[in-house]
Amino acid sequence: MRLPIYLDYSATTPVDPRVAEKMIPYLTEFFGNAASRSHAFGWKAEAAVEEARAHVAALIGADPKEIVWTSGATEGNNLALKGAANFYKTKGRHIVTQKTEHKAVLDTVRELERQGFEATYLDVEPNGIVSLEKLKAAIRPDTILVSIMMVNNEIGVIQPVWEIGELCREKGIVFHVDAVQGAGRVEIDMAKLKADLLTITAHKIYGPKGIGALYVRRKPRVRIEAQIHGGGHERGFRSGTLATHQIVGFGEAARLARAEMATENERVRALRDRLWKSIEDMEEVYVNGDLERRIPHNLNVSFNFVEGESLIMAVKDIAVSSGSACTSASLEPSYVLRALGRNDELAHSSIRITLGRFTTEEEVDYAAQLIRRKVEKLRELSPLWEMYKDGIDLNSVQWAAH
C-alpha cells in the first residue's frame, strides 16, 4: 500500500490510464486543428472531437448537438448563468439558487446581482437538501432562472433536481443544474431530467483537467448569450480552438463512466459503508448531510471537540479535505455545514472523505484506524473534550470571541 492514500476524489480524480493512452496520439500525431476544413489533419481532429461529443452526450442521455465544450465547470457555470440571464433579462430579472451551491455558481450570481439582477439564495434543510415547497414559494412572476446543483461537493447529498425540473418547465423558467459531482456517479438521462442547462467536467470522472461541457437543450430550445467571442466555434456558443486531446480524454472518460458506473457505484458504496461502520461507534461523531440521499463516494463527518485542520494534519497519511476553510486565507468554517445549521464547533470539526475508482479495502481500513487513533490523541489535547467529559455545557460558557 502506497502512502499517502488519496481519499479526495471529489476534489479531482486521477486520469484513468486507459484515458491517458487514448489522449497521447492527439498531442503528437493527430495534432490538427478541428476547425481546419482543408486537409486530413483537420478532418482527423474533427472526427475525434465528434466521437468524444457522442460519448459525453451518451453519458447524460443527450443529443451530441446539445454538448458545448468549455474549459471546465467554472466556465460552464458562468456561461450557463450569465448566458441565460442576459438573454432573458427583458422577461424578468430574478434568479433563484441555494446557499450550498459551489462558489462557481454563487459568485456568478453575485456578479449578476451587481449587474442589476435580483437573487434569492434558498436555505437547505438540516439534511442538506433543498425544500421543494420553499423553492416553489421563492419563485416570482419575474423569475427567469433557477440554478440548483445535482450533488453537493462537500456533503455529497443528491438534490431533487428531477422534481425541480418539472416545476420550472411548467412555469417556463430556465433551469440550470451544476452536475459536476453527479456525472458518472448518478444516472443522468436528459429525456427524464427537465433541465435546460447542465454543467459537467472531465476531471471528476477520471478525465483530464481543463475540459468540461455545458449541455444546452434544443427541445424545447433554450437560448444563451455567448460569453467568449471569436471564431464562432461550438455554433457560436463558445469560441476558441478546440483542445482535441483534452476532448478525446473527456470522451473516453465518459464512455468508461457510462459502462462501469453501476458496478463501480456498488463497490464504492460497500467501501464507504465499511469505513463508516468502523468509526461510527466513536463518541460524538456526526455525519453531515443525509446519509441515504447521497452519492456512495462521500463521507463527511464531524468529530466533536477536535478541530478539523489539526485532524487533517494528524492524518497526513491520507489525503482528505477539511470542511473548515482554515487552510485558506479565511478562518471561517464551511459555509455548507453552516447552512445545515451545524454549530460552529461541529462545522470546525469536520473532514470530507471521498472514495473512488482506485480506492481499495486495505486503504479504507488503514484510514479508519488512523482516524480513530488521531481523534483520540487530539481529544486528549482538547480542553473542550475535557470540559465535555466533566459534564460542562459548552454553550453555557462565556467565550471571548477573537
Binding site: 494534519m313 478562518l331 489535547l381 467565550w399
Partner: protein, 133 residues
C-alpha cells in the same frame, strides 16, 4: 499549507500536555479563544514559593499552529517570574515557529493565554492574602 519543522515538531510531540490537580492553590489557569473561532487554549502555570513558575501545562483545541504555539509557551514560561512571563510577546512566538501571516492569531492567543494564567494566579493570591489578613 506547509508547516515549519518547529510547528510539526511541537505538534507531533507536544510538551507539557495535561492539567494540574483541580483546586491546587499554586496554579493559575488561563483559558482563551472560542470554539466558534476554531481555537481554544487552556494554559496553566504552577508557581513556586520563590515566585517563579516551576511548571506549566496546556490543552488546546485548534489548528497545528495553535497547538504548537501553546506547547512552546509552556516551555518558555518555566523558570520565569510572573512579570517576566507576562512580557512574552506574540511576535517572538510567531518568529520562533515561523508562522505564516494567516496563523499570527495563534501566537496572539498564546500570549493572551499567558497573561490570563498570570492574572488568574494573582487574583487567587490576593483572595488568599485577604483571607489570611
Amino acid at each position: 499549507m506547509a508547516y515549519s519543522d518547529k510547528v510539526i515538531d511541537h505538534y507531533e510531540n507536544p510538551r507539557n500536555v495535561g492539567a494540574f490537580e483541580k483546586g491546587d492553590e499554586s496554579v493559575g489557569t488561563g483559558m482563551v479563544g472560542a470554539p466558534a473561532c476554531g481555537d481554544v487554549m487552556k494554559l496553566q502555570i504552577k508557581v513556586g514559593a520563590d515566585g517563579r513558575i516551576e511548571d506549566a501545562r496546556f490543552k488546546t483545541y485548534g489548528c497545528g499552529s495553535a497547538i504548537a504555539s501553546s506547547s512552546l509557551v509552556t516551555e518558555w514560561v518555566k523558570g520565569k517570574t510572573l512579570d517576566e512571563a507576562a512580557t512574552i510577546k506574540n511576535t517572538q512566538i510567531a518568529e520562533e515557529l515561523s508562522l505564516p501571516p494567516v496563523k499570527i492569531h495563534c501566537s496572539i492567543l498564546a500570549e493572551d493565554a499567558i497573561k490570563a494564567a498570570v492574572a488568574d494566579y494573582k487574583k487567587k493570591r490576593s483572595v488568599e492574602e485577604k483571607k489570611v489578613a
